[in-house]
């Protein structure tokens, strides 16, 4: 924006240029005029002088010719000489009259008049002499001839006088022209000096008013390029330069802002890149964990069968040896079989926990027994705490249920436990205590606190990638995921340092009612699904091939398992139950038995080799012997698959391997109690 009253540089330069042009033009014109006028005057005078000289030459020539003709006439008295005398005289007179209209000086003009008078006098004198001669008075004429010569001499003198006057006039004129030329030269020199001075002044003004501001501009530009972002061009006098200064300052401000923005964006990009690297690491870690979970799931499944055999055999040994009459045997049972069974149970629990942790999350919040989740998590980290010389304590009432995804809930507890263990291992602290209480009507408050060093910055512990651990030990995402999971449940989480030392993480979650336990009576219309078998609705046709149980006979249980040891263990466990046990090593064999023998309860492994596994067998029973469907018990090392997805069975018809004798028998008894007599 142009300020009011700001002079215009363009106008100033234009006025200056016009002034220079006007002065230069005036000086040039004046010089030209002086030169040309002087030249013209000199030329005119020169031409006039040449003309006058020519006239004078003619006059001299004519008067001499006239004299000559006069003398000739005196010699021969021929009339032609007399006429020639008159003609020459008239011509000379006419030539003299030409002087009348020449620009002559007074002196020259006076000489002309004298010359004319002399000529007129000469003519009259000559005329008198010629008259004498004509009258025959030749002697007198000859005597007067000297008088005629005198007149001619006077005439010559007059002509010469005129020429001398003209020469004097010309000299004066030349002197005047010389002076004029000198004045012109001096004037031109002065004009040149004036023009140089004017040019100098204009140059100085140009430098002061244009170049100086431009130098300011350059200096400020250098300052800015040198890093001084606050350098600005000062206000300028002229509108155009003011506009340039304002534009330059705006540009500098824009550059400054752009630089700040770029730096900010660079920081953000750098931070994003770091986050990306860390996320990439975390992703890799999670992929590793995912792969590890899958591996753990497979490993646990494979372990379950031998572990089930070991546990079953150990319990059978313990029971048998305990019932032995031999004290040494009983002692040996107490010394060996019981620890064996106990360790087998511990191994079973560990495998179960691994399986539970490696399960895929459903992503849905549902009522979860908080104590069970805590127990599973603690079970997974118990060994680590023990090895580090730390303790895990739990005080969670079994009545507390929360709305959560059990996997994520376990993840929450394990993450906090890991953090606590790392902190206590690196510094001080001995125990992580996990407790939970009802918080109002609809909230449960889960508290995880240790006596370690506490948080360095409690406000930042939930920030992504915030970590105080060494770079190769933490991703900074653990507690961030904790917060994310809790928010997904509709809860809140906070972190703080305990007053007496140590860290405390408080999780508040929506409380939930315990899920309704299904009746122990067989579910009606259970649905069986399988990844490889289509869902077969339970058929309604009446039984046609099943063999009914004869009245008064003992109940029959068909055990289907491809592991011979497990078939034997189950058979031994049921040996005290007043039932008949039928054994089948695969599904086809079981189907054949069922078609030929009355069976009250089918206990089948889920994974078996052959064309039909446990799932196929369950489907076949559902289709062929639907009345028997409620009296089927699935025993599997991967019960999660039986409950979530593949087989939709109530928990009363599912038993996980490895199992204890009590678990097995209680489940069998429960099912048998519902069978019809």
């Amino acid at each position: 924006m142009r300020r009011e009253g700001t002079p215009s540089l363009r106008r100033t330069l234009r006025v200056s240029a016009i002034a220079v042009v006007v002065v230069a033009s005036a000086a040039t014109l004046m010089a030209l005029y002086l030169t040309q006028s002087a030249g013209a005057e000199i030329e005119t005078d020169r031409n006039a002088f040449v003309d006058e000289q020519r006239i004078a030459d003619h006059i001299v020539a004519l008067t001499y010719q006239q004299q000559l003709e006069a003398f000739r006439y005196l010699q021969d008295l021929k009339e032609e000489h007399r006429r020639a005398f008159d003609v020459r005289g008239d011509s000379a007179e006419a030539e003299m009259q030409l002087y009348l209209f020449q620009q002559l000086s007074p002196a020259a003009r006076l000489e002309v008049e004298r010359m004319k008078e002399a000529h007129q006098q000469f003519e009259v004198t000559a005329h008198r002499v010629l008259e004498l001669a004509e009258r025959g008075e030749r002697d007198e004429a000859q005597r007067r001839n000297a008088q005629l010569a005198g007149g001619a001499a006077v005439l010559d003198s007059s002509v010469t006088g005129f020429l001398l006057a003209r020469i004097a006039q010309r000299s004066a004129l030349q002197t005047r022209y010389a002076a004029l030329t000198a004045r012109v030269r001096v004037s031109l020199a002065l004009m040149g000096v004036a023009l140089l001075a004017l040019a100098g002044i204009l140059s100085r003004q140009l430098e002061r008013r244009v170049l100086a501001p431009l130098n300011q501009l350059i200096a400020v530009a250098k300052q800015i390029s040198g890093g001084d972002a606050n350098a600005r061009v000062p206000p300028q006098k002229y509108a155009e330069l003011e506009q340039v200064a304002l534009s330059f300052n705006d540009m500098a401000a824009s550059i400054h802002r752009a630089r700040e923005t770029t730096e900010t964006q660079n920081d953000e990009l750098r931070e994003s890149l770091d986050q990306l690297h860390r996320a990439q690491g975390e992703l890799v870690q999670r992929e590793k964990l995912s792969a590890m979970g899958q591996m753990l799931a497979g490993l646990a499944h494979e372990l379950n069968n031998p572990l089930a055999s070991v546990l079953g055999i150990a319990e059978l040994l313990r029971i048998e040896m305990k019932a032995s009459n031999d004290s040494a045997t009983r002692h040996l049972g107490a010394e060996l079989a019981e620890p064996l069974a106990r360790e087998a149970e511990r191994a079973r629990d560990l495998v179960r926990n691994l399986l539970s942790f490696s399960r895929k999350s459903s992503g849905m919040a549902e009522p979860v027994a908080l104590s069970a989740a805590v127990r599973i998590a603690m079970g997974l980290r118990a060994s680590a705490f023990t090895q580090a010389g730390k303790r895990l304590e739990m005080e969670v009432p079994p009545t507390l249920y929360v709305m959560a995804d059990v996997q994520k809930l376990e993840h929450i507890i394990i993450n906090v436990a890991n953090n606590s263990l790392d902190a206590m291992s690196a510094a001080s602290g001995t125990v992580l205590r996990i407790s939970a209480t009802q918080d109002g009507d609809d909230r449960v408050r889960l508290v995880l606190e240790d006596d370690g060093p506490g948080f360095a910055n409690p406000a930042a512990v939930f920030d992504a990638f915030y970590t105080t651990k060494p770079a190769d030990q933490g991703t900074g995402l653990g507690l961030t995921l904790v917060q994310q999971f809790v928010h997904e449940f509709g809860g809140e989480v906070s972190a703080e340092n305990r007053e007496g030392g140590g860290a405390r993480v408080v999780v508040r979650m929506r409380s939930a009612k315990p899920p309704v336990q299904p009746d122990l009576a067989p579910a009606v219309n259970p649905r069986i699904a399988s990844g490889s078998h289509p869902v077969i609705p339970r058929p309604q046709p009446p039984r046609t091939t099943a063999v009914p149980r004869a009245p008064g006979r003992r109940r029959r249980i068909l055990i289907v398992d491809d592991e011979a040891s497990l078939r034997e263990i189950q058979r031994r466990l049921l040996s005290q139950e007043n039932v008949d046990v039928l054994l089948a090593s695969n599904a086809e064999e079981a189907q054949q038995t069922l078609l030929t023998e009355p069976v009250d309860l089918v206990i089948s492994d889920l994974r078996m080799p052959g064309r039909t596994d446990g799932r196929g067998l369950m489907a076949w029973i559902d289709a062929t012997l639907p009345h028997l469907t409620p009296y089927t018990l699935v025993v599997s090392g991967d019960t999660h698959g039986a409950q979530n997805g593949d087989l939709e069975l109530p928990s009363t018809r599912v038993l996980s391997k490895p199992f204890t004798r009590d678990e097995y028998l209680s489940r069998v008894r429960a099912l048998l109690s519902t069978t019809r007599d």
């Binding site: 009348l100 007074p106 004319k116 008259e131």
Partner: protein, 357 residues
């Protein structure tokens, strides 16, 4: 005091207007009479007119005329000049006046060359181109047996002689002799008379002035008794030594009809006669009119040389002619007046100073 000074200045006589006069002794009184007439009637708009009179200097000489002209133009107060008395002098001085931008009114200059004098030069008579036929007609009317022509050998006499020779030739009048003279030629006057006598003319045409004629009147009357003389305008109308008993009638060309019925002219003639004890001549009457004409110009356009010249250039052309005592004045022919010739009879007069050589 200042008021008093202003009053004194206001009461001072105004600076008079000045007109230069370079005339003969017989012509100059005409200008004087005109000036007296103007001043008697309140001057020019209340401003008196003064003549810068160079006296009766030998104005007929061209070199002396130049000197007089230079002296006049050197005075910036001189608004115009009336002069000079003959063609040679007027023509020579005209270049001074034209180069210095001063109006010149020549009362009696008749040479044709004066038409080329310049825009600042006017004359109150016609060119000799008209006088030559007038004289030739008079010569023819005389039926002379032998005609001789004497002319003054200057620009006036040479041109008039040339024109007259042409006219006489047209009229088939033979001229037995054509003789020049110069007014400074006192030593050879007898030669001129002797030459004339040899040719025995019965009619002499005198193309010159009266002064030199006075010198040869007596020998001429003795050598050629009864000789009739016709003189040009330069003769002036009177001669000091005219002896009609010796010489025949002497007639001369008059540029002004002095007998015209103009009361002013007659009153001026009377005044002139009373003051100069002789009859007024052409130069005096024309000078009278020249002064009146310049006074009228100054009265009309103010005391400015250029404006006076401009006003004069319109007189008789796109402005009315000026009525002087010599008749209407109209510069219709290159600054010259329309011809109005008549013949006068020369008479004896009291001696007048001889023009200086």
């Amino acid at each position: 005091m200042a008021f008093g000074l202003l009053a004194i200045l206001a009461c001072r006589d105004p600076e008079p207007y000045r007109i230069g006069v370079v005339l003969t002794a017989t012509g100059n009184p005409g200008a004087v009479l005109a000036t007296e007439f103007i001043n008697r009637n309140g001057g020019i708009g209340g401003v008196p007119l003064v003549l810068v009179n160079l006296g009766d200097s030998p104005t007929g000489s061209a070199p002396l005329a130049l000197d007089a002209a230079e002296r006049l133009v050197a005075d910036p107060r001189v608004l115009a000049v009336v002069g000079h008395s003959n063609s040679s002098a007027s023509l020579a001085a005209s270049q001074v006046y034209n180069s210095r931008h001063v109006v010149q009114i020549a009362p009696t200059s008749t040479t044709p060359l004066f038409n080329r004098a310049g825009p600042w030069s006017f004359r109150l008579v016609a060119s000799d181109e008209y006088q030559a036929p007038f004289i030739a007609a008079a010569v023819a009317a005389e039926h002379p047996d032998r005609v001789a022509v004497v002319y003054v050998n200057d620009v006036y006499g040479r041109s008039l002689n040339s024109l007259l020779a042409h006219e006489l030739e047209k009229s088939k009048i033979a001229v037995v002799a054509t003789l020049p003279y110069v007014e400074t030629e006192s030593a050879n006057q007898s030669d001129l008379v002797s030459s004339l006598a040899k040719y025995r003319p019965t009619l002499l045409v005198w193309l010159g002035r009266s002064a030199y004629f006075d010198d040869i009147t007596a020998p001429l009357g003795k050598a050629l008794p009864g000789l009739r003389v016709l003189a040009s305008d330069g003769f002036g109308g009177r001669t000091a030594r005219l002896d009609s008993s010796v010489l025949g009638e002497v007639r001369h060309v008059r540029l002004v009809d002095m007998n015209r019925a103009d009361t002013t002219l007659q009153r001026v003639r009377q005044l002139y006669r009373e003051r100069e004890k002789t009859e007024i001549n052409d130069e005096a009457a024309l000078s009278y009119d020249a002064v009146l004409l310049l006074a009228e110009a100054i009265r009309r356009v103010g005391p400015d040389r250029a404006r006076v010249r401009e006003w004069l250039s319109h007189v008789g052309r796109d402005a009315p002619a000026y009525n002087g005592i010599t008749g209407p004045i109209a510069f219709v022919n290159g600054g010259s007046r329309k011809a109005q010739y008549s013949w006068g009879i020369a008479h004896a007069a009291s001696p007048v100073p001889r023009r200086a050589p």
